[in-house]
């Protein structure tokens, strides 16, 4: 029995099913968490009718969306219009396959995991653009144009930050990145100020770019409902819209997983002990959900930025600062061994 489970194809299949379930459950219940969180922030209870304290609300939403007709408006490119929701959902599922949730809990331990996640993460934008373009709706096309320029602007500082992290860790293997951060919480990359004094700034840049890449408020230009009605999703209804909606949360999960791995020590315990075995996923999910809560918190607190100040923020602030941290990290890594040989 054990041998059977250890067969590579069986193991991967089981992991993929688990990942699909994880993404599905997360997408459904993050919507509820978001609505509950929004309710608390706005001094109201949030959904509380379906089931005790509203815990069946995602089920009710899902049934409602499934029961609706998937309308393809006349004049649209029907193939692309239908394909866009699938294209937006597949990449986060692929990305999660390489995410180490614990000591040995990873579907495929790629030695280029980081590169893999980023290459698949970029497909999300193409799907939104296709959806907007295929809709043949003016609001959707404006939104598609916005998504592309926003993504181009924010991919650059994000990748500069990732290159910085690559210099610090020296590996693209996500499990290896986590293993390097063992010990107390000051061993996390976020607090490694002796490698680069701007490490917390790097984290803030990464987090900001992640918000922009996943089209979350205050950077939700794709679905700026007071300007563009529903942006790229204007013509989508039923489960077509539902998949876009789920993909948004799946992308947030992937983004927060990456932030946890790169900066917050992944499945490592913050107190040095209790990090093996089943404690790994506990710490990992705890850190990830704390980040997701921050994402929700930000959404319900701030107004939306204007589109051009969003681009200005990237080109005029984030890119120079992330370039600066990159240079500083390089310089520090060359200089520090001479100044403090004991640290290295």
């Amino acid at each position: 029995m054990i041998d059977f489970l250890n067969l590579e194809p069986v193991r991967i299949l089981l992991y993929l099913v688990a990942i699909c379930a994880f993404v599905g459950a997360n997408a459904a219940y993050l919507v509820l968490a978001e609505r509950k969180g929004a309710g608390r922030i706005q001094r109201r209870p949030g959904p509380n009718e379906a089931g005790p304290a509203g815990i069946l609300q995602p089920l009710a939403d899902g049934i409602k969306l499934l029961a609706k007709q998937v309308m393809v408006p006349p004049g649209t490119d029907a193939l692309l219009f239908r394909a866009a929701p699938l294209m937006v959902m597949a990449p986060p599922l692929m990305c999660l396959a390489t995410i180490p949730f614990g000591d040995s809990i990873v579907a495929v331990n790629l030695n280029i995991g980081l590169l893999f996640v980023f290459s698949f993460g970029s497909i999300n934008v193409m799907a939104l653009m296709l959806g907007g373009w295929a809709s043949r709706n003016k609001y959707a096309i404006i939104s598609a144009a916005r998504v592309v320029s926003q993504s181009v602007a924010y991919e650059i500082p994000m990748l500069l930050v990732v290159i910085t992290m690559l210099m610090v860790t020296g590996t693209l293997d996500l499990s290896e990145v986590v293993k390097q951060q063992a010990g107390w919480f000051w061993h996390w990359n976020l607090f490694k100020v002796w490698v680069n004094p701007l490490m917390p700034v790097t984290f803030v840049i990464f987090f900001t770019c992640m918000l922009a890449e996943t089209n979350r408020a205050p950077f939700d230009m794709a679905e700026a409902e007071s300007e563009l009605v529903a942006g790229a999703f204007t013509e989508y209804g039923g489960m077509g819209f539902g998949v876009f909606f789920m993909a948004e949360y799946a992308n947030i999960v992937v983004g927060c997983c990456l932030a946890t791995i790169l900066f917050l020590g992944g499945w490592q315990s913050p107190i040095g002990a209790l990090s093996g075995g089943l404690w790994g996923p506990v710490w990992f999910l705890g850190k990830m959900y704390a980040l997701i809560f921050t994402v929700i918190w930000i959404r319900w607190t701030f107004p939306r930025t204007q589109f051009y100040s969003l681009l200005n923020l990237s080109w005029k602030i984030l890119i120079p600062v992330s370039l600066g941290t990159l240079l500083l990290t390089g310089a520090m890594m060359k200089l520090m061994p001479f100044v403090f040989p004991s640290l290295h």
Partner: protein, 380 residues
């Protein structure tokens, strides 16, 4: 001039390089806050021309005034700008009282000022929440409605209505302001002052909000004069025009208050004017609560059947959106000969086409939010 165009027309700009397209914003658009349609000629996200098309909720209020008795028209006035119904009924009641030469008792006048100012605060709160919704901030509107609810409860206790109040009568009020209302209003003023400070700290000082509104949508004093824009729009252009001081009515001359003006003439100036006005209204309410005398709330000799002597009468008030004026023409009969309603939102919208030229879509919508339009007030 309303140019009807097909929905998918596209043309070339005069230089022949840029292709433009027509964006039909509304009448069902989240930022229109009602059934306002704006036909936009867009160059990418830039607006070349934005032409507001109105009339989707036209209810012929002026014509309705000509076929019902003077008293029966009173409820109509509270349904024009449903967010500041008290001010609107005040203007109509005031015009008829001027025609009949009725002296309104002091107590009634003070009660009118208190309720009008409460109404102004509740109206500004709806505007504040709706503007933040336009800017993509979802939470402030629920905070605003939480506080507004207290005003609605107070006014409901007086006249039974929560939105379209019909509390004023020719010569006085529908019923007296009771002690419960006066005490409740005092409590509300005490409750509201720290809340306004909180609004300022949480929202007004937010850097994203400041970036969205500062230097966006300039509306100069000259433009206001040409289009007849009044209220916070002209005060946001640095002109201290307020009907309460320019054409004093009711007991406003006995009360001390400042007219907040900001010379920047941008969306932020209009925002700050309204935020300051809420503070001023609270101070007016406080003074009026101290000064309100005992006595009758109705003038003694108001005729049963109202037949104002033939003539032409005007009464203007400072409503939440600007100068609202009622002009009535009587030929001595039981029904008005003509009722003319001068609504502020109509004038404030009319400058939109000129002001929005060359703006980018999100900024233009932020500016529309800063005009505080109420669509039934535009269409009447």
């Amino acid at each position: 001039m309303i140019a009807e165009k097909g929905l998918i027309t596209s043309g070339h700009a005069s230089d022949g390089t840029h292709e433009t397209f027509t964006l039909n914003l509304g009448p069902q658009h989240p930022a229109a806050h009602g059934v306002l349609r704006v036909l936009m000629t867009m160059d990418g996200e830039w607006i070349q021309r934005a032409e507001p098309i109105i009339g989707y909720i036209h209810r012929m209020h002026e014509k309705m005034g000509e076929n019902r008795s003077w008293a029966k028209f009173l409820p109509n006035t509270s349904r024009i700008d449903y967010l500041s119904a008290m001010n609107y009924t005040h203007a109509y009641v005031g015009a008829v009282e001027r025609a009949l030469k009725i002296e309104v008792p002091e107590r009634a006048e003070y009660a009118r000022v208190i309720t009008s100012e409460l109404n102004r605060i509740s109206s500004h709160m709806v505007w504040w929440g709706a503007l933040l919704l336009d800017l993509g901030g979802f939470t402030p509107i629920l905070y605003a409605f939480d506080d507004r609810e207290k005003i609605l409860d107070l006014l409901e206790g007086l006249c039974g209505a929560r939105l379209t109040y019909c509390y004023y009568r020719f010569g006085g009020l529908y019923n007296d302001v009771d002690d419960a209302f006066l005490k409740g209003t005092r409590d509300f003023v005490a409750h509201m002052k720290p809340r306004l400070t909180m609004y300022r700290e949480l929202v007004t000082d937010n850097i994203i909000l400041r970036k969205r509104l500062t230097d966006i949508g300039p509306i100069s004093a000259d433009m206001c004069r040409r289009y007849g824009a009044t209220g916070p729009v002209i005060r946001g252009a640095g002109v201290a025009y307020d009907v309460r001081t320019v054409e004093p009515y009711s007991v406003y001359p006995k009360l001390k208050f400042k007219i907040p003006t900001y010379p920047q003439a941008d969306s932020m100036a209009r925002y700050l004017v309204r935020m300051d006005e809420m503070e001023q209204s609270l101070s007016i309410i406080e003074q009026a609560l101290d000064l309100i005398p005992a006595g009758p709330f109705m003038a003694p000799k108001v005729p049963r059947v109202i037949k104002p002597p033939a003539g032409d009468y005007c009464y203007a008030v400072e409503a939440a959106r600007g100068r609202f004026m009622v002009r009535i023409v009587s030929d001595g009969k039981e029904i008005p000969y003509r009722v003319k309603l001068r609504a502020p939102s109509f004038s404030n919208l009319s400058l939109y086409e000129e002001a929005s030229k060359g703006m980018i879509l999100p900024d233009a919508l932020a500016m529309m939010g800063s005009l505080d339009l109420v669509i039934p007030d535009i269409d009447r």
